[in-house]
């Protein structure tokens, strides 16, 4: 699974520019589903058709896109001024490397003369340097989007990579699709777009699919770092089952069923109560007449920086839990 995660996290795909990562995922899932479609917004949807009359229609979502930068102005010296999107942490920017769609690398700089050097960098103090010597020489165009660039690294049983939010969810969906030998349900694996700019892809996909139950697979924060977020979730504690985040209350029936399936399989889980941020499930829950929805989250440190960290055991347990959830009856 590590090789898969490497291919996914080292791919390019800021929100709205998901073509490359979508092609990578399409290649990974070739031949695994009954059919594959791309909807009008660009969501990649792989469907395993219903095998039993008692089966339900399940929507799973993991988002393809990553947080990033978009060029808003190029100055006379050839530096690109940018807007940040998707909740990029400005503290993680200075000195970071970014990559554009054509593979071109840039480094993020910050103006040296600032009013208060102790303050968090403001977006208008940051710029991207791609090695241009003047405006005419700069290969960037307005609207070009970039994501962070870092190769994946292994640190003991943990992985460090950019865009684990949410390529780790994408990896879990792909592995689940591979390991799902039989299911009574119709399962739509949705690799969604534009999650980081307001869970926009999944809402449209949920409207189109009209599923009975929805699950997002995404990352959550972990409270096990020095003076970390005030939450119980820790790396290595197993899949985090969502109770509440900033935008949704997970359907308690979905949450309880996930917890029950984990207990049956002897998998440890944790409960996620997240103060900031949300997932595709928030949009799925209120599509059309509503969809019972929940989420499985991978405990993750340093979210929205170039060096996000997860524990492999948690990731594998998410695959095991999701596979079991799909193989068993789903009655809410």
């Amino acid at each position: 699974m590590q090789a898969l995660i490497r291919r996914l996290t080292e791919s390019y795909g800021p929100s709205g520019s998901e073509d490359q990562i979508r092609d990578v995922v399409r290649g990974e899932i070739r031949g695994l589903a009954d059919y594959v479609t791309i909807d009008p917004l660009g969501n990649l949807i792989a469907v395993v058709k219903k095998k039993a009359k008692s089966g339900k229609k399940i929507m799973l979502a993991a988002h393809l896109d990553e947080v990033g930068f978009v060029v808003s102005h190029i100055d006379a010296q050839g530096f690109a001024r940018v807007q940040l999107f998707g909740g990029v942490n400005p503290l993680a920017c200075v000195g970071s490397r970014v990559r554009f769609a054509d593979g071109r690398l840039g480094v993020i700089g910050i103006e040296a003369r600032r009013d208060d050097l102790t303050k968090v960098p403001a977006v208008n103090e940051l710029y991207i340097d791609v090695g241009a010597t003047n405006a005419a020489d700069c290969p960037l165009r307005l609207g070009d989007a970039a994501g962070f660039w870092r190769p994946m690294e292994l640190a003991g049983r943990r992985l460090i990579a950019k865009s684990l939010d949410d390529r780790i969810g994408v990896a879990i969906l792909i592995e689940t699709l591979r390991s799902l030998k039989q299911t009574p349900h119709e399962v739509a694996f949705v690799f969604s777009v534009q999650e980081e700019v307001g869970t926009r892809g999944a809402g449209a996909a949920a409207f189109g699919l009209e599923a009975d139950v929805g699950l997002a697979v995404d990352v959550t924060r972990a409270g096990d770092t020095p003076n970390g977020p005030r939450m119980e979730v820790r790396l290595g504690g197993g899949p985090a089952i969502k109770v509440r985040d900033a935008r949704m209350i997970a359907d308690p029936r979905v949450r309880e069923l996930l917890e029950q399936r984990a207990r049956e399989a002897g998998l440890a889980t944790q409960r996620e109560v997240l103060e900031g941020g949300s997932t595709d499930a928030a949009a799925m829950q209120i599509a059309r007449g509503g969809m019972p929805a929940g989420a499985i989250a991978v405990p993750t440190r340093y979210i929205h920086t170039p060096s996000e960290m997860v524990e492999l055991g948690d990731v594998q347990a998410c695959v095991a839990l999701l596979t079991r959830f799909l193989q068993r009856p789903i009655e809410l």
Binding site: R230, V243, I249, A250, E272, V273, G289, G290
Partner: protein, 354 residues
């Protein structure tokens, strides 16, 4: 009155029903609404929809009367030794939390109280500030290991202040937002039993209003009503708020009729006319942008639904001692019944944005 309103309201206020977890209150309502309506269903997110079939010709237009049944509360974020730490489910007024009685819904319900550091132990400037919710504790009396066996992160915490009847027909209770409005719906359904109405009338107890107005939009999508009236609470006037006359309303002054972009002007006029027909006193409230109610989600469901907001004044909103005048609840119920009964089959053809 055909049933004991005070007992119904108090029973509703006592029932837990935090956002997303409304089952206890919904079950109570299902029992109360079942004899008053022709059919009931719970929608996909848990909103209870109870329909009184009208007498008009088919296809009959449909009026949605929506009041949210969820109440604000808290949930456990983590265990801290012998104590619990909390976060909010809805906008609880954290200034009022220290010293409150709560119920922790763990493996089984546990009584608890909310504590904060004694003022004597705080630096002088610390005494003058409100202790943030993240620094309050729930104390159940249990030691850490037994607490951990019974309670985990994500378990719910309800305010547990018992209701108290005040003088002059006033009731103080937790959860009057919005169980007072739900009670008005029960009253309206009850009154419509003895009145002819051409339209189908669907009473909806919506879920998750206090957490981002999430239940009402999907409920409206599924029901596809022709008109919707949302009943919620507004700010009651007291000694501290009487100067804010445009935002606060007297208890006992009758229902408050909303005006603003979230409200269809023609529907507003029709409701006002119904109040005048029935000689029900009312006040007007300008909601200049977002009404802050379920009407915000309902208005833009499907191709758009004309919406109206009727509010019941409540003092001490989002605290465990909200106060309502029973007379306002009764008048709101009567107004809804009067409006519903007065709708003729061709009403939609006459409805204009005047």
């Amino acid at each position: 009155m055909p049933f004991d309103i005070l007992a119904h309201l108090k029973a509703l206020c006592a029932a837990p029903g935090l956002p997303g977890h409304e089952a206890p209150a919904r079950d109570l309502l299902r029992a109360a609404w079942s004899p008053l309506t022709h059919w009931l269903e719970t929608d996909r997110l848990g909103s209870l929809c109870a329909t009184r079939q009208g007498g008009g010709p088919r296809p009959r237009p449909r009026l949605m009367l929506a009041a949210h049944v969820d109440t604000i509360g808290m949930l456990v974020t983590r265990l801290d030794g012998d104590f619990l730490r909390m976060s909010r489910l809805g906008d609880v007024d954290e200034r009022t939390l220290p010293g409150q009685l709560v119920t922790v819904h763990g493996r089984h319900d546990l009584p608890g109280v909310i504590g904060q550091p004694p003022a004597y132990l705080l630096p002088k400037n610390g005494r003058e500030q409100v202790t943030p919710l993240s620094e309050l504790v729930v104390d159940t009396g249990l030691p850490a290991e037994r607490l951990r066996a019974l309670v985990q992160a994500g378990d719910l915490v309800s305010l547990a202040q018992p209701a108290r009847e005040l003088q002059n027909g006033l009731l103080a209770a937790r959860g009057l937002d919005n169980r007072a409005s739900v009670t008005a719906l029960t009253l309206a359904l009850s009154e419509l039993q003895s009145r002819a109405h051409a339209w189908d009338v669907v009473a909806v107890a919506t879920v998750q209003e206090e957490f981002g107005l999430r239940g009402a939009g999907p409920a409206a999508f599924a029901l596809a009503p022709d008109l919707a009236i949302v009943i919620d609470v507004t700010f009651g006037r007291d000694a501290n708020t009487r100067d804010l006359a445009y935002r606060t309303f007297p208890l006992g002054g009758g229902p408050v009729l909303g005006l603003g972009p979230n409200i269809h002007t023609g529907l507003h006029s029709a409701v006002k006319a119904a109040a005048e027909r029935a000689e029900i006193p009312y006040n007007l409230e300008v909601m200049w942008e977002h009404s802050g109610t379920d009407a915000f989600g309902i208005q833009v469901a499907r191709e758009g639904i004309p919406t109206m907001v009727i509010s019941i004044p409540v003092r001490n909103m989002h605290t465990p001692v909200e106060i309502v005048a029973l007379a306002d609840v009764i008048r709101t119920g009567r107004l809804l019944a009067e409006f519903a009964a007065g709708l003729d089959p061709g009403f939609m053809g006459q409805l204009a944005l005047d």
